[in-house]
């Protein structure tokens, strides 16, 4: 169970999630400090840990559109929050699967700031309003990567098998 700590509109681009001017910082562990850097309130809340584990950021359609920069995923992942959106841009969701950021696609969800939400495999339950919304699961191919613990582990296993 988590609380909605921030609400975004549609088309949140990777320039908002991780502005290009920080792209010289590449190591995944160094990126979290710059999450949503130009959104001072949200950045401060994340960096100062003014939220609980499992808390949630909600967004509209096409979250993560724009650049393929993987920092946009590692920067959020470093804070352990979950993103619920109506849908995600292709490269962003692929990067999320590869790095293990929890992204939930719930096209019809309704929620507001402060709502308590439970995320299950096939649905999200808004405990505050008492309503449930369907979740579109990851494709089987993506789920395999998630189950392996991310793309590094997944590729490593194929590499080892090939060299046996």
């Amino acid at each position: 169970m988590g609380k909605v700590i921030f609400q975004f509109e549609d088309d949140i681009s990777t320039d908002i999630i991780y502005p290009g001017r920080f792209m010289a910082t590449v190591l995944p562990t160094e990126t979290p400090q710059f999450a949503f850097a130009d959104n001072k309130d949200l950045n401060k809340m994340l960096v100062n840990k003014e939220f609980s584990e499992n808390d949630i950021i909600i967004a509209g359609k096409n979250f993560g559109c724009g650049s393929s920069r993987e920092q946009a995923v590692s920067t959020i992942k470093g804070h352990g929050v979950t993103i619920i959106a109506r849908n995600f841009a292709r490269i962003f969701i692929q990067n999320s699967v590869n790095l293990g950021l929890n992204t939930i696609t719930a096209p019809d969800y309704q929620a507001e700031l402060g709502d308590e939400i439970e995320v299950l495999a096939d649905k999200v339950i808004n405990k505050t309003s008492g309503k449930e919304y369907a979740v579109i699961p990851h494709s089987a191919a993506r789920q395999q990567i998630i189950d392996a613990g991310g793309l590094i582990a997944y590729t490593r296993k194929i590499l080892i098998d090939k060299n046996k």
Partner: protein, 430 residues
């Protein structure tokens, strides 16, 4: 079964005769491209090899391209150190398609690949850059991926878990009016489809206006297909593709054209009449906020930018020079030009284009991504507005979250440079 171009390319890259839309496949990668973010790819690549007791070795160094373009010459010691680390890796692994910071070889990755003949029709091209879609201009299936996925491709030589995408067929007939350009076509299409209208899909371009379009124009439309969310844009390769590869890219070996089957199934068909198009402007802060120019004419702009992987090629600079020759950039604005590659820069010097632009008052910077992504050139002041031939106008894209970016063709940019306000290039400008 009939197939789209991308189905055929993917089938071939998996040694199959047929793949269906929705199938998950692992195609062999023909070319794997990175830029400065190779530094992150290297990090992830070495992670994969950790504790395997295997020596880290890329699958095929001749199929990896690394182009420094995003921040050249380096804007910070951090970037310079990343570039240094990448040079070391390139040397150690024997990667040959490497373009360092040199006047004779440098340029934006999406220009370097085509002009050096690194991309061919039928190729599977992946790149750690969302505008990798550009290379569909040469009939390749080209798509952007993240750094970890690239590390995986460097290791295995395949792209994992590629879901065969459905295709939107866009048919463009009719003739473009004067000073209406391929950029106007793609902006119009993005406005029509919306920023997510082609998410997870491919846009396949057809029609007489596309057949008559130069490879430069095709690069522009495929480049920006990703702004409608597309996995890739692709043009049916033809005589023009062969001419470009032979005459500009210097390719001498055999070129095989992969074309879609007659009767292939499309997810959606969009028809556009080029003769009805007018100059288009993408307004702040989303690329699909597209308006015909008359709705924004007169908007004051403090910075004009011509360049990028979208519109920094020789014909783009030529169009601007033709409008600016013998005239002056308004003192109420400033104009920056960044050619897409060293080769283009040289040609523009030899043709007198650079001289025309500079005499008019433009600042010509070195080839690279320059102001496009707001890192180290051409930042905007608080509250300022830019009019740019680049491809993104997201909040903060040009380095300042309290500024505005409008996107347009090189003709609109040049005409507006003369006045300092958004100006229709079809009407004579003094």
């Amino acid at each position: 079964m009939k197939q789209t171009i991308v189905q055929k390319i993917l089938a071939k890259a998996c040694d199959k005769d047929f793949v269906a839309v929705g199938d998950v496949v692992e195609p062999r990668v023909s070319l794997a491209m990175s830029h400065e973010n190779a530094a992150l790819v290297i990090n992830q690549f070495l992670e994969i090899y950790k504790e395997t007791n295997l020596e880290p070795k890329v699958w095929d160094p001749s199929r990896i391209a690394i182009i420094f373009d995003h921040r050249v010459p380096a804007e910070s010691s951090k970037t310079a150190t990343n570039q240094k680390k990448t040079r070391g890796f390139v040397a150690q692994q024997g990667i040959t398609k490497f373009h360092d910071i040199r006047g004779d070889e440098m340029g934006i990755c999406h220009q370097i690949l085509p002009e050096n003949g690194y991309v061919r029709p039928g190729f599977v091209v992946c790149g750690t850059d969302s505008h990798t879609t550009s290379h569909g201009a040469l009939g390749a299936f080209a798509f952007g991926i993240g750094a970890t996925e690239m590390a995986s491709a460097w290791t295995l030589g395949t792209a994992l878990n590629v879901q065969v995408p459905p295709t939107i067929k866009v048919i463009v007939n009719g003739e473009f009016s004067d000073n209406v350009l391929p950029k106007d076509l793609i902006l119009y299409l993005i406005g029509k489809l919306s920023a997510e209208g082609a998410n997870f899909k491919v846009i396949e371009f057809h029609g007489e206006a596309i057949r008559k379009m130069s490879t430069s124009g095709r690069l522009t439309i495929c480049n920006m297909s990703v702004e409608a969310g597309a996995t890739s844009g692709i043009v049916v390769p033809d005589e023009e593709t062969i001419n470009y590869l032979r005459n500009t890219a210097g390719v001498t070996d055999e070129i095989e054209l992969v074309v879609p089957d007659e009767g292939a199934e499309y997810d959606q068909i969009v028809e556009i009449n080029a003769s009805e198009l007018v100059p288009q402007i993408a307004c702040p802060h989303t690329v699909d906020n597209v308006k015909p120019i008359d709705q924004v004419v007169g908007t004051r702009v403090e910075q004009i930018v011509i360049g990028s992987c979208t519109n920094g090629r020789l014909d783009d600079l030529q169009i601007a020079a033709d409008i600016l020759r013998g005239k002056k950039v308004s003192h109420s604005t400033r104009m920056l030009v960044f050619p897409a590659s060293g080769r283009i820069y040289q040609q523009a010097i030899e043709n007198g284009i650079i001289s025309d632009l500079m005499k008019a008052g433009a600042v010509v910077v070195n080839p690279g991504c320059g102001p496009c992504l707001g890192i180290h050139q051409g930042a905007l002041g608080d509250g300022e507005t830019a009019l740019s031939t680049t491809n993104r106008n997201f909040k903060g894209r040009m380095g300042n979250p309290v500024s505005n970016v409008y996107l347009c063709s090189p003709a609109v940019a040049a005409a507006s440079a003369l006045t300092g306000v958004i100006t229709d290039p079809r009407k004579g400008v003094n």
